[in-house]
């Protein structure tokens, strides 16, 4: 096997550009996933069947179909309906939407974990519905699920190279472009693969530590 350190050095500027785009996709995608997941989770507890049912169908459908195809759908179909986003924006929306169906499940478990007595206490204190959620239920529920949410952020990191397929230049996209120019695929792809391990492994250790601390 040949390993060319100068190719690694040449790749480095592109590598850091890719890291920036990957992190950008990860942070914005996580924000969408956290917010939208909470919406799904609360909607699934709605008293109205007309709200509960469609939300369940949508989340199950999105969770059980490939992110890659969803990205293609967003990237190719939305412009046909005259909604045009850049590749990166489409990727962020796709990642956020896909993972929101996972975080919804996480929030659901967290909300189910809040003892019934807490709900009853709110009723006894005549608290309005909104305040019950924001002041009593969610603070307790979310504290418990922080590590699980973190694990999905790590999973999202590992799925983020998929947005390279619709043309966003994150880590893998940069590696592909570099190897297309130089005909040296070995170094950039290996570097990117190792970079993922170097980010994901400490992050997963951190989540395990958080789990011990927060989940009692």
């Amino acid at each position: 096997m040949q390993w060319d350190w100068s190719a690694v050095a040449d790749f480095m500027p592109r590598f850091w550009d890719g890291v920036l785009v990957t992190l950008q996709a990860l942070v914005l995608g996580s924000l969408i996933a956290f917010a939208l997941g909470l919406v799904w989770a609360i909607a699934q507890r709605s008293a109205l069947k007309a709200v509960r049912w469609p939300v369940t169908v949508i989340t199950e459908f999105v969770r059980n179909t490939p992110l890659l195809v969803q990205l293609f759908f967003l990237y190719f179909v939305l412009p046909e309906w005259n909604i045009t986003f850049s590749a990166l924006t489409t990727g962020i929306i796709g990642l956020g939407l896909h993972y929101s169906t996972y975080t919804a499940e996480v929030y659901r478990a967290g909300i189910d974990g809040v003892p019934v007595g807490q709900w009853e206490a709110c009723t006894a204190l005549n608290m309005p519905r909104g305040r019950t959620w924001t002041a009593v239920v969610l603070p307790q529920a979310i504290r418990r699920v922080v590590p699980a949410l973190g694990n999905y952020v790590i999973a999202m990191l590992k799925d983020s190279p998929m947005i390279a397929t619709i043309g966003a230049l994150e880590l893998l996209g940069q590696a592909r472009q570099f190897s297309a120019v130089t005909f040296q695929p070995t170094e950039p792809i290996t570097v990117v693969g190792i970079a993922f391990i170097l980010i994901a492994y400490p992050a997963s250790l951190l989540m395990r530590a958080l789990e011990r601390r927060l989940v009692r």
């Binding site: 059980n64 890659l68 190719f76 799925d159 190279p161 390279a164 397929t165």
Partner: protein, 240 residues
């Protein structure tokens, strides 16, 4: 919807067949890897535990798509191993999802009460007999719900191979898209196709779980359409 000719539908259904092959073969390799690595992580020797742990962290730590690119583009150049695309795809899927599965196997093995293992030692069972006759049968039902989730992840992961030119559903869809110049119908159709396959897989795993629990004299729990497997309630009524 009506624009799709028989030939174009044919492309999609060829893709369905390739996706099913990839899922089945990937799951077979993944299950093998998961059991070997998962059992190795409970080994007495620290070096075996360390190496299996290292394998798991490396393959779980990196991205499946990056690994696939590596197998497709780096292996041939750097090592001179050119694999048939189909097998390269199965290899990278199986190795990645096997690493995730090893954690399921390890967790399920650890959840078997230690007294069971001790009873095996007291009866002078060899380690292999203990594993095969005592620990695995009891750990098995607990593995199925998380394995189902992983199987769905694997099914979704097979779509990645289309990027590398293996003719699965997503690849068929890109051909059809080029032929039609219209994306909405074909991508809607294939999303539904994936959903149907996932649904069938989930039903199959549900049946497997019921059977495995019945073999141990446990009642199955009821769950939703796809619902995540939840830990069995302590009060489940046995053998009804």
């Amino acid at each position: 919807m009506t624009d799709l000719t028989t030939g174009l539908w044919g492309l999609l259904f060829q893709g369905v067949w390739v996706t099913i092959q990839l899922t089945v073969l990937g799951a077979a390799l993944g299950a093998f890897v998961a059991f070997v690595v998962g059992v190795a992580r409970t080994n007495r020797l620290w070096i075996v535990r360390f190496l299996s742990g290292l394998y798991m962290e490396i393959f779980r730590g990196t991205s499946a798509l990056v690994l696939m690119f590596w197998v497709f583009f780096v292996l041939p150049v750097a090592f001179g191993w050119q694999l048939v695309p189909m097998w390269a795809a199965v290899l990278s899927l199986g190795l990645t999802y096997g690493a995730y599965g090893s954690e399921i196997v390890r967790g399920a093995l650890a959840s078997v009460p230690p007294a069971q293992r001790e009873a095996g030692i007291a009866l002078n069972f060899t380690p292999w007999q203990r594993l095969r006759k005592i620990v695995l049968p009891q750990a098995w039902p607990g593995m199925i719900p998380p394995a189902n989730n992983l199987l769905i992840e694997l099914l979704k992961g097979t779509a990645l191979v289309s990027v590398l030119g293996v003719g699965d559903i997503a690849f068929g869809a890109s051909l059809v898209r080029n032929a039609l110049g219209d994306s909405a119908p074909v991508y809607t159709i294939i999303l539904v196709m994936y959903f149907v396959i996932a649904f069938v897989l989930t039903r199959g795993m549900r049946a497997l779980e019921r059977q495995a629990k019945a073999n141990l004299g446990q009642a199955p729990e009821r769950s939703r359409l796809f619902g995540k497997g939840r830990p069995a309630a302590a009060t489940s009524t046995g053998g009804k």
